[in-house]
């Protein structure tokens, strides 16, 4: 039995975006982690749409551009969220249209309540309790579908809402930088990214940049590599949304998308044909938007 030096055998989790998408079967329960117009996994959403993946359930605390894109492409059957918009550029028009025409089943929460369900999933808690949502119309449909229960505290009898843990199959998060073992850093506010990744059975990352293990400050790790299945490098992969410290959102492109999504039909199809289905890679898309 040979002794080894005190240096770590670290796994290499770097793959291509195409490999990440190939591992996602139709009907998967995806957890997304963008927020409106910031840090959306757009390169991933494009690749998923090109792969023709269908029947997805998506959980995302705050929906955004990526969410609407998947709805526009008809990739989603179910959505669980607390809200969605593309900030001042508009609403999630494709999502809202699909909800109203019945092609997308929606479960709605408050922001904290859904973050707590993911948090309970992350920690393996039997269930979590909150006062949020009590009295609101959000409660009844959740209780009816086993997603919430009105109970009393065993300590003081106070009414509270119990929520079961949530365990999506695969979380996909766009990060600033990851090392080759998947230890990843997110700069700026992190909204529900930590618990979205930790609640999921598998975590895939898209990173602006990939470095060697040991180059990142261990105190700045947002997602430990131990939880990560694979990481793909796609610089500018959040376009047209902003990635803090890397690039701003592309206002002109967001306006163009919002108009197409609001119009729907041929206008939205034309957008998808030109920018998503009509290109082979995200690099081609980036050339198309900023030639």
């Amino acid at each position: 039995m040979a002794a080894m030096a005190a240096t770590a055998a670290r796994p290499d989790r770097v793959v291509s975006l195409r490999e990440i998408v190939a591992d996602i079967p139709d009907g998967s329960h995806l957890a997304l982690a963008g927020f409106a117009i910031t840090r959306n996994a757009v390169a991933f959403a494009h690749e998923l749409i090109r792969a023709g993946t269908r029947g997805l359930t998506v959980t995302q605390v705050f929906g955004g551009f990526e969410t609407d894109l998947l709805a526009a492409a008809g990739a989603m059957d179910c959505l669980t969220y607390a809200s969605g918009s593309i900030d001042r550029f508009g609403l999630l028009y494709a999502v809202n249209r699909a909800v109203l025409d019945g092609s997308l089943a929606l479960s709605e929460y408050s922001g904290l309540a859904l973050a707590l369900r993911l948090h309970a999933g992350a920690l393996g808690l039997p269930f979590v309790t909150t006062r949020s949502m009590l009295g609101s119309d959000l409660v009844a449909p959740l209780v009816a579908t086993g997603q919430a229960a009105e109970i009393e505290s065993p300590f003081d009898g106070a009414p509270c809402l119990a929520l079961p843990p949530l365990h999506p199959d695969i979380a996909v998060v766009h990060v600033d930088v990851a090392d080759r073992a998947g230890n990843a850093m997110v700069g700026g506010p992190v909204w529900s990214i930590p618990e979205t990744a930790r609640a999921s059975r598998m975590v895939d990352l898209v990173a602006e940049e990939i470095v060697e293990v040991g180059e990142l400050d261990p105190s700045r790790i947002t997602i430990p590599g131990l939880l990560v299945h694979a990481v793909a490098r796609v610089p500018h992969g959040g376009h047209p949304t902003a990635v803090y410290g890397h690039y701003d959102f592309d206002a002109a492109h967001l306006r163009q998308y919002a108009a197409a999504s609001n119009a729907g039909g041929d206008a939205l199809d034309a957008y998808l044909d030109r920018f998503v289905r009509g290109v082979a890679t995200f690099d081609e898309y980036l050339e198309e938007v900023a030639p």
Binding site: S85, L91, V99, L112, A115, T130, G135, A158, W191, A242
Partner: protein, 256 residues
């Protein structure tokens, strides 16, 4: 333009909204006009207001106009970047937020809000943003203020969808439902300030140039009028208007 054509209705709304902020408030700010009202307060009478954004931002001091709370311009000079659990959980649900500033599609006489879905007279439905942190803030903040434009269809005794709870919820008190705080204390519109009390809604003031009777007619919820009639809301000052026009919203994204 209203008020002798010296300011827009949206400017008046931002100013009246800002006056609800008390210096020292720990304030969670929703998307849109609440942002402008909070920043106006921060730059005028409430320099120590502590802003929080549900995206996970502590105490930002934005210097440039932003397209929403997900626009990094809105996070400028923050003291801490954190998570939604930290803002909506530790700060809001933990009872550490004194004021929430929220938008709404529809409001009832107790300040319950709908930000989810509205129904047109022809029965067709339109969907909007959903709750996000709105429900958490209405449920848990010491007080909340609703900031919205004043249209008759936005006031209703029977909300299409009750997204966020008011001072009473379908005839129940907040305490009965299990909510900790008093809840919404005012609806500020571009025409009036409506105070919300446990005895019902009160037309506290109308903005310069508005007639109380016309406002009442366009507010189809039970609305009390104080003896002596409503006051007049203070007119925007030149300083407030200059701030809005040159710094907070020079592109008229919110206040046109």
């Amino acid at each position: 333009m209203s008020g002798e054509e010296k300011w827009t209705r949206a400017e008046m709304l931002a100013v009246a909204g800002s006056l609800q902020v008390v210096d020292g408030d720990v304030t969670v700010v929703g998307l849109g006009l609440p942002q402008i009202a909070a920043l106006l307060a921060q730059r005028t009478h409430a320099p120590t207001v502590r802003l929080l954004l549900e995206i996970g931002v502590f105490e930002p001091v934005p210097a440039e106009p932003a397209m929403g709370i997900a626009d990094p311009r809105m996070w400028k000079d923050a003291t801490a970047f954190a998570s939604t659990l930290e803002v909506l959980g530790v700060m809001v649900h933990g009872g550490r937020v004194s004021l929430g500033l929220l938008g709404a599609l529809q409001v009832d006489q107790w300040g319950s809000l709908n930000t989810t879905e509205v129904e047109a007279p022809d029965g067709s439905r339109r969907r909007f943003r959903g709750s996000g942190g709105s429900n958490d803030i209405s449920s848990n903040a010491s007080r909340t203020v609703v900031i919205m434009t004043h249209q008759s269809r936005k006031f209703s005794e029977a909300l299409t969808f009750l997204t966020s709870p008011g001072r009473r919820i379908k005839e129940q008190t907040r305490a009965t439902v299990g909510l900790p705080s008093q809840g919404p204390c005012a609806v500020v519109t571009d025409r009036a300030v409506i105070a919300l009390t446990d005895a019902g809604a009160v037309l506290e003031s109308v903005h310069p140039g508005e007639q109380p009777d016309t406002v009442l007619a366009d507010t189809p919820i039970p609305l009390n009028v104080p003896a002596g009639g409503p006051k007049e809301t203070p007119a925007p000052t030149a300083t407030q208007l200059a701030l809005i026009r040159t710094e907070l919203d020079p592109n008229n994204w919110y206040t046109s």
